[in-house]
Each structure stands twice: as C-alpha cells, then as structure tokens.
Symmetry: C2
Subunit: 457 residues, 2 copies
Amino acid sequence: MRIDPKLALTTTTLAALGAVTAATTSALAQAADCPSMPEAPAHHFVPANNETVHWGYFSKGREPQAVIHSGDLVTIETLTHHANDDAERMVKGDPGAESVFRWGRGDKGVDRRGAGPMDASIHGRGAGEGFGVHVLTGPIYVCGAEPGDILEVRILDVSPRPSGNPDYSGKTFGSNAAAWWGYHYNDMIEEPKPREVITIYEIDTAGGKDWAKAVYNYRWVPQTDPDGVVHEIIDYPGVPVDHSTISKNAPVLEGVRVPIRPHFGTMGVAPVEADFVDSIPPGYFGGNIDNWRIGKGGTMYYPVAVEGALLSAGDPHAAQGDSELAGTAIETSLTGILQVVLHKKDDLAGTQLEGLDYPLLETDSEWVVHGFSYANYLDELGESAQSEIYSKSSIDNAMRDAFRKMRHFLMTAKGLSEDEAISLMSVATDFGVTQVVDGNWGVHGIIDKRVFAGDSE
Amino acid sequence: MRIDPKLALTTTTLAALGAVTAATTSALAQAADCPSMPEAPAHHFVPANNETVHWGYFSKGREPQAVIHSGDLVTIETLTHHANDDAERMVKGDPGAESVFRWGRGDKGVDRRGAGPMDASIHGRGAGEGFGVHVLTGPIYVCGAEPGDILEVRILDVSPRPSGNPDYSGKTFGSNAAAWWGYHYNDMIEEPKPREVITIYEIDTAGGKDWAKAVYNYRWVPQTDPDGVVHEIIDYPGVPVDHSTISKNAPVLEGVRVPIRPHFGTMGVAPVEADFVDSIPPGYFGGNIDNWRIGKGGTMYYPVAVEGALLSAGDPHAAQGDSELAGTAIETSLTGILQVVLHKKDDLAGTQLEGLDYPLLETDSEWVVHGFSYANYLDELGESAQSEIYSKSSIDNAMRDAFRKMRHFLMTAKGLSEDEAISLMSVATDFGVTQVVDGNWGVHGIIDKRVFAGDSE
C-alpha cells in the first residue's frame, strides 16, 4: 500500500507527533543489554501477537522483541496485514492473529498503524493514519551490531501459517488486493472504473502442491470500521471487511495455478534517518523490497544503520510476480527460520561485502542487487522525504541505480575492472522490474553464480 | 547501435532519397509469384552473402530472397554486423562473410548500411549513414500472407557459425561493443571517459560447453575506413578495425563463464509505414526486440503488415542479458532453422492470436509479451518518427505498454475477465527490462505456462 503523496508526512511533523526521544532510545539500549555469548548458537522464538509486532513503520526506537548473538537462529512468525479481508479464513481461531486484528470501539489490538500521528489528525483514518501498512514482527536486537557493519540474514525456512479455523483445517489462505495504489488503477478497461478488487487464494499448507488457486473475489465496497470511520477505499490497514456487505464471485481464475514463491515482502533493519519510517518505500535498509526471491534458501545482506541493527520481518507473501502490478502479492501469513550473522565493519575490506551500502540478496544460484528510484530517499529527498518519494516514482531512475549497484558489486565483490564489469553486465546480467507500487520503485539486477564457477578452460 | 536523434531522418527525407517506388513494389510482387503449394513442406536455404542480406533497415520494397508456403522450413544464415571488429576470427576464410564485409576504396560488398541517404549527405559516414546497423538476411516472402494475418515463426534450431579461418578451426567468436549508445556511456567511473571498448568472446562451436569466455578486449581508437572516412567512434557498421592501431588487453574476465543463450536479436516482418525503416528500434513488426529468449525452441508471432509478410532475421547473439546494458550482446554469426506458419486473419477469432497487434513469443515454458516505449513509434510519432524515437526512450512507458499487452493476452488468449487478469499479473507475471539501448526501449512480461496447466484441483 502507498499513501497519497499530498497527504503524507514530513520528518518534522513526525518528530512533533510523539516520535521516540533520545531518552527513550537510551532506555531501549539498556533493555538490549547483551548477555555473554553462549558456546553454541541459541534458537530464539518470536511469535506474532499484539505485543511483538509493529504495524506500518520501522523505528530505531522500538523495544526489541529478542536479543540475539551473531550465529543465532530465530523462528519468526509473520502475519499478513490483509488477514481481515477474510477474517473467517485468516484470523478466526488463531490467537496470535486475533490479538493483532482485534478491534472494538476505541480498543484495537494494535492501535498505531503507520508512521503518522496517533490522533489521526490528518485524515481521521485511525492512529498512524495508515502511512505505512505492513505488520512487522520484531525488531530483533543483534548484540554488537553498529552502524557500518553488515547484517547477514539467512532464510533457512519459510512455511505457510495454517488457518486457525477448524472449518479450514490444514489450509492456508491469502489475499490479493488490486487496489488504488496499483499500477493498473487509472488504466482499466471494464466498468465500473476505477474499482478495487480482493481475490482470496488458497495455499496448500503441507506443501504437497506447489501452487495456489483462487477461491473467490469481491469488489471493495465502503467499510465502516468499529470506530465509525468509513473507508471508501482501502486506506487503512486491518479494517475488518463485513462479508454481509460484499458480493462474492466464484469460481474465478478457474483452472489457474499460481506457482508459489513464499517470501518476505518486507524485511530489513531500522533506518537511522527518522524515528518513524513508513514501511512502504524500500531503501538501503531493505524494508519493503518485494522481491519474491527473498525466500527459503536466500540470504540477505543489509547495511546496519543503528546500534543492534534492529531486524524486523513481515509482509509475508505466498506468491508475487516481478512488478507486483496491482499493488499486492498473495498476502499470506508465514513463519520463517532465520540465521543471523554479523559482519563487523573492520572485517569487510577485501570481502564481497566491502562498501556495501544497499540490500544484497544471495540465493543458491544468483546474486541480486536492488536498485530504487532513490537509493536512500530518506536522505536524498530531505525533510519531506516520506511524502515526496510518492511523487517521484520512476522505473527509469531505479534502472540507473540498479546498474550502478551491479557495477559496484562486480568490481568490488568480483574484482573486475570497469570495462570487464560493463561487458559482463551487457551479456550476462538480467535486470527486472521488482515493483511499481511502493513509492520508491525497484529494479533488480541478477547475475548467475555459474558465471564465476571458476577457470573458464 | 542507435543514431543520434538530432541527426536522424524523417520519412519525408527518406522518400526523397531513393526509397522504393510503387513501380518497384509492383515488380517485386511479380517476382514473388507463388508456385502451387506442394504436398509436403519444402525446405529452403537462404545463405548469407552480399546478395541475400540487407544492412541496417527493413524495407517492404526489397526483393524476396526466398518464396515459401505456410509450413515450409527455412535454413537461414545470419551474420553479425560486428564481424569486422576482429576480421581474422570472424570474416577471413568465410566466403559469405567476406562477400558482405569486403570493402575497397569505392567498392563495398554491401554499400547501403542503414536507412539513410545513399550519398551520405548528412554526416558523410557512408551509404545509408549507419542509420540502422544490423545485417539482416532476407526477406522471405510467404505466399498468401496479407496485412491482418499473423505469421508464426518456429525456431527449430540455432547454431554458431564456425570461424572460416583455419587458425581457429572449430571455434566461433563474437564481439561485445560497450559503445556510445550504451546505457553506461555517460555514467562511467574510471578514466579515460567516455570510452568505447570491444571485448572478443569465444564460443564452443560444437556446443559441448554451454558458456562463452572472453579472449581479449581493446579500446576503440579512430579508424579510417577504405574510403578515407575517419570514424572517431563506432558510428558506421562494418568498419574494418585495423588491429595495428589498437592495444589488446588479455587476459580479461579471467575465470568468467558467460552462459550462452543463442538467439536472433533482430527478426521480424516488413513494416508498412515507411519504405526504409531503421533496423534499430523494435516495434509491432518485431525487429530488434533483443530478447534472448527468442532462440531455439521459441516461436514468434508477428502481425503481418505487407503482402508476403517479408520476414528477415539477423543481429545474431550468442548471449545477452536483459537490458543489453552496454549496447550490444555477444554479437556472433548464427544459422537458424525456421518453420513458418501463416494464420489468416479470418481464422483468428476465438484463438489466442485474436487481436494480436504486437510481437508475441511462446517458449516451451512461457508466454512473453513485448512492450515498448511506443507500441508503434512509426505511426505514433508522425513524420519524424525515425529520429524522434531516440529522444523518447523510456522504461516507464515500456512498462505501461507491456502491462496493457499482457492484460490483452490474458483476457483474449486465456479468456479471463479484467479483474482476473489484473490479479494474475500481480501474483504470477514477471516484468523485465528487455533493452535500454535501442531507442524504443523494451519491457517484457512473462507468464509461466504452468499457470494454465489445467484444472486446479
């Protein structure tokens, strides 16, 4: 989800609206006092519930939900922020999800949703204003992590979260919202236009089927939330959809099988530039990259920007295509097993992580760099960066950034001259459109590891 | 290669400069008088030599080099226009290539190179001015083909053309030019900048190794052609590089293996909009799409624009990455075996080809639509289209076009509603950057055929 550019926040506004103060930060550092390093890696568990998640923002000031050492394992639950599109299938009977999505008059399981003001003084949508939408679990404090270090996050496993409703035992569901921030929204053919459409997909929890299928779809109609706010469009996350108000169409996408690609749409470390950072635009810190390759077997490398790194993950997807065209993926709660390795800045020289100031993905077969319309929009666009970025979306700019990053990677990590790197990029690197829906649009560059398999004789 | 926008041609100028007249066209139609259809498909052979190729342009007026029926097979030789970057390896001892690249004072094997004037009145580069650069073999006249039909071209085989020089027996070579029209050219790090660099690659002719390796590289230095014109940059195709003037660097890209992806960078039918069409910008007629997936096992579908379709192929590549970043691929002469099938316009209703007005690729596993900055720049940009297009390059526009084409494909060929198509695009379609170097930049959309494998139960 993205926010309307003209309605968004400036850093200054955010600071005035209850952002974390230096005093708070200090208290948190104390909270993350690190125990001595154990002999064997520990395995931590971070469940998803209304205490462990932060909704719609990254914050360097948020209290850690786990404190770990380099090498430790973390099982982390993540919830989709679209679960209330069909609460029967994605919330009911799931205590963690119920605690997060609970919403009675004046009483929400998680009140703040977004980086905006708590009193919703801008639009009245609700606390946080929906300036940022993803349910994120964490953060995880990594002992010894400091700005300038690199955090390696190995995704050892990703599995679908089964429905908690006995009526759907053994099944997992996800929601795809073709929404107002989608690339298609003002460029539709059929009437009525524009329109927002939710499609509910079913995923095989056990993993025997490597594809998802559509169950039904419905057109979004205005929803009145428990606080009485009417949401004409999908402008605030977690609004419970009253299924007595919608008209379901089924079957839809008959016979169509969507190959599953479970991954974390959003994962990253806390940025240093602002206290509350909208979860939607990705950046150097990772965040909402929305690359479906960030799944099982993948390893992400993030530049650490604040003490403890403060890793969070969420926005889980069962499947997404390059571009995420309509605005969302198959938004599906997932549980991951991560191993986190810290690389200290003094040890980076001469390694493939030297000079890394962007999020890098390594898979079994590929290296992937992530370019954005702005490599670091929070810094480049100044005080109003968090609103400005939405008016500056550009694939052309993201391609330029991806080119420069791939060149950097090939010259630094692989020791090529610029001429060698340029030639290799032209003949062996694939550039693709990561997403065109997250404000700071993305282009990724992929180079096959076989290219570096060894001597060419 | 692209031409400088401010130096290019208008359709009007071209018409005044010896373009094919109606009288000529009429004579050609006579030449393509179709024999009666044989009982079994025939297998034609179109070699590449100075009689059978046209260099740097498509033309609806060019005399066919073969006349075939729907269903016939064609073995077609294609030559890279970069062979003279290392004539020892890519021209010498190869009679076809020698006939094409022969160049003595006032005497070229193929004089016209490009869609420009024959007297080189604009820049003095040479006949055709290099407004279009690809050596294309053909055209092939398909009996019965008329505007509105669809031409299906099945690529049954693609194989590297061995060096004709006994010193390099059993080897094939290719050239990668990181040139002034490359995406990187005005955005370099190392000195001197800017600079053009040629890298020569070696390919295993026998196919035992599925990768290419770099042999050496050199920086382009001004070359004086046999007619005395000095080429400070790579501004005219086929200029013989005098290897006594260059400085070779070797080894380069040590240990690097470039996965081979043999394909035709340029293949398509003759456009109707102008008599001489620069071979560089791709369009509805196909042409210089530069998608590495257009290789063995692939099938292209092109909208026929003129009588006989007039299919040509060339610009052969051993490998290319999505974006063709530096301006070229590994430019390598290849021979293909094609089967050509004609689909008459009256038979298209209800088929997956209905309403197809863009070049579509089918592979064993995927459907691929091709979007461009302008879907039909020749029509959309008016009289000066052939120069204007170079100032209007945009990935953002190409993505918009690719989105619309994929939606069309899913709704027409797969019978989906718009809502179904939009959702499926978001969760299962991958959009990538085809090229950013051909004036009319490209974004392709890919959908996996497994998506339509059948009932989802």
